[in-house]
Symmetry: C2
Subunit: 492 residues, 2 copies
């Protein structure tokens, strides 16, 4: 595409990396593993945040904010939790710099050593449950339904923009309940909120399921997840919702007086999605010309580009464009008019294609004469001339809705075309190696088999699908009996 971006066919991974940079979504920073989210990328994340936040509030949650630092000792209170997170964390040990005595710059002041080291939060269960101990006394204080938007740090060695970075942005919900069933219901509700958001706004179909014990969140009794399929045939975990049982309540001694006068540990959940969703959005839909952003998340849904040779034409076109812009905005469509004279129309066409603006309108002198406009849709690259009559704004709004559906359906069709049911291990290996995609196969339910398959094929069990049909079968690896197929794939 003449912008220095390889095609997906040539180099999928290079295509992704370059697209993220060239489309001004994000870039690496001088701080190892940390990214800079650039204005255009951030404006898409803001649209995601706004919709998710609305959905969280509609399901009764409120936002709060907890400290970025976690005392080292907190991490040890839940035994599995520390194993899951201690190996990859940023540790604050001092609280002051001072001028080096040799004048070479600033150095850490050894006298400003902290009594107890602080961890930059990799996730906030510990610091939040420590607060919940004081917030929860009785069943009247339950359920406690809180969400936090925050930055978190996990010291990843191999990083990729949005998909795996040392620092990332996310939301983390942390709820406390009086009964086990209520906490499970919450866990499942939030999984469904995530699935709805990813499918209806990001236009990415997902498989809902349970993680296997080896892939559970450190400290959870059960981890639910949604898994999406990318265009290179790899899976991307797009959101997780954890049923914590009473694990954190026990670790942080959070009890409540029950209705009938007893004293019990509360039941917990936590759930999160992150800027990783940006990676899913980009990889699920975009093409060799650049981004394809579903209209419901596009910061600009319609861009209007004038084509003129002189100021007279410019001003006549601008007058007409303003009418069109207002009529579209009245329907809630976001519109940008780009009449900069520092760039040619052809450059602008390529630029907005790269940025994934769903609909492009181009208007030249002849259009003005004929009261028409050229309408191009980003997903299919189709162009048509449309009359600027009173039905035009509705038609464009309708086109945006149609595109949202079409983009989803295309991704769904891709997912279906790349989903296999396999019962033979040689075929299983061949498909994962040569074709990729989702593979439904039988598994004997043991950690050993799961680990062996991972070792031999690099594929992991993405999830044990929810609401799947029971089906008698034999484990694809061990031949032992199995009651249900699970979902395998190579994954990000």
């Amino acid at each position: 595409m003449g912008k220095g971006i390889p095609t997906r066919e040539e180099d999928y991974s290079g295509w992704y990396n370059e697209l993220v940079k060239k489309a001004d979504l994000a870039e690496t920073s001088a701080v190892r593993g940390c990214m800079v989210i650039k204005p255009y990328g951030f404006s898409i994340w803001e649209r995601m945040q706004a919709e998710l936040d609305r959905m969280f509030k509609e399901t009764g949650h409120t936002n709060a904010y907890f400290p970025v630092f976690i005392p080292k000792s907190y991490m040890s209170k839940e035994a599995q939790h520390v194993d899951g997170f201690a190996k990859e964390c940023a540790v604050v040990t001092h609280h002051r710099l001072k001028n080096a005595e040799d004048g070479s710059g600033v150095v850490v002041d050894p006298e400003a050593k902290l009594e107890e080291e602080l961890i930059v939060r990799p996730t906030s269960e510990t610091v939040i449950w420590n607060s919940y101990r004081n917030w929860i006394q009785s069943y009247r204080d339950l359920p406690l339904l809180i969400n936090q938007w925050a930055n978190v740090v996990r010291w990843e060695l191999r990083t990729r923009l949005f998909l795996r970075t040392a620092e990332f942005l996310w939301q983390e919900g942390h709820t406390a309940h009086a009964t086990e069933q209520e906490a499970i219901d919450e866990t499942e509700q939030m999984l469904e909120v995530y699935a709805t958001f990813v499918e209806q706004f990001m236009a990415v179909p997902v498989i809902r399921g349970l993680k296997t014990p080896s892939e559970r969140f450190a400290g959870a009794v059960e981890t639910y997840c949604i898994e999406a399929l990318m265009q290179d045939g790899k899976a991307l975990q797009s959101g997780t919702s954890h049923f914590l049982g009473q694990n954190f309540a026990r670790a942080f001694d959070v009890k409540f007086a029950t209705r009938d006068g007893g004293l019990e540990h509360v039941w917990g959940t936590s759930w999160g999605v992150s800027t990783r969703l940006m990676g899913a959005l980009i990889m699920a839909h975009s093409d060799d010309n650049g981004l394809i952003i579903p209209p419901r998340l596009a910061p600009t849904q319609v861009v209007i580009i004038p084509i003129f040779r002189n100021e007279e034409q410019h001003s006549a076109i601008s007058e007409k464009v303003m009418e069109v812009k207002i009529s579209l905005e009245r329907l809630g469509v976001s519109v940008k008019y780009d009449d900069r004279d520092t760039h040619k129309p052809g450059w602008k066409f390529a630029e907005y294609e790269l940025k994934g603006v769903p609909v492009r309108l181009a208007m030249g002198p002849r259009d003005l004469e004929n009261n028409t406009v050229e309408v191009a849709r980003r997903d299919t690259l189709e162009k048509q001339s449309m009359e600027l009559d009173e039905t035009f704004p509705q038609k464009i709004a309708g086109l945006l809705d149609q595109m949202q559906t079409d983009i989803y359906n295309k991704a769904l069709e891709f997912q279906q075309d790349n989903t296999h049911k396999i019962d033979d291990y040689e075929e299983f290996k061949r498909v994962l190696d040569e074709e990729g995609g989702f593979v439904y196969a039988h598994w004997d339910g043991t950690d050993e088999t799961e680990a062996k398959i991972k070792e031999e094929t690099k594929a992991t069990i993405r999830c044990i699908p929810l609401n799947a049909e029971a089906e008698e079968g034999k484990c694809i690896y061990s031949g032992k009996p199995s009651q249900q197929r699970v979902l395998f794939a190579k994954a990000y």
Copy 2:
């Protein structure tokens, strides 16, 4: 008020601390100096964020996100900057914990020492200007108008909820311009955005001014600020906007090709407000009964409390309340109906008074009969019975507008009543000691005099007011000539 909160008269500082906790705004955490912003406090901060973010976008700014970590060496690149921030920062030195060999828990893994220490951002000029070097090539890339919402850390020893905490939330704008004048205009524009927000939404009148050289932001050529007066006669700096000249452009080598083919350093600004504004909001208006929140920032503007003795009354009242609620919501008023049967009406009255909900409606069986409702406004505590006719929703919306104005005017009157012009140093000391408030006095313009006055009175020059009349006078301390009065006060 029977909630364990001292009166302002008894103990202003204790009143503030207890009010913040009892009204569920925030609390201290187990991490020294870091606060937990509780759901109710956070919902007010979200209202502030929404309005500020809208104002930033209306003035052409977009949001982005930069790393939380700053390499130690960056801090040294701007000489004054490192002096200003190195003494109070959280330093990350390691990236891993491991199990202690004696089984006593987890310890820092000495093998995971970072090559270069990272500072948790106290402010982001350095890391942002390091990115700008690559983002800016030509005058076509300017102005660059970016804002970031983020958490920052400054290792404060003496902390107070919202006013001074080790970690706080804020926004920081960072802009780059082709000319000095454009950067100065931006600096002044953003000060005016802050002043408008604080006056029109927070209902707190402010004085706009320039900081003296000794109080400037570390690395700025000029620091603009807004100063508000609290009920105890102390000033609170509520926002700052910095003209950075070419200081950070030089430190990070950010140059641009000019229109006429030259190569020059760009001109910069930065500006920020933080969760400190929550402290200003609470201290400016609230009374011994609890919070007073101006309607434009109140998460709930109207609370409706039913008074009933049996289910029949409850259900009849609820039916009427639903009509009222919908009619108010149609006008954009946020309404909460609290018909919980776990708490008595009297408890609810006190609770919403404490939380500062602007308008309380109470409806009992007699009101239902008479088609009336009792309306109580939080600021004046006045109550009246109003008829539930078709003009009722408009009247409540009008009442909220009136309250917004009244709360501002009350604060303005307080500010005016507590502003003094003083020319005698003994009187100056007496007023600052006994009465507090804003004091306009002459100053000779030297750091020495400023420091001496601070030492002797604990008052600082809050600002050199903008647009003040020139007035010949003599320095209140040294007797040397002065051209303009400056604003002194004790401050938070």
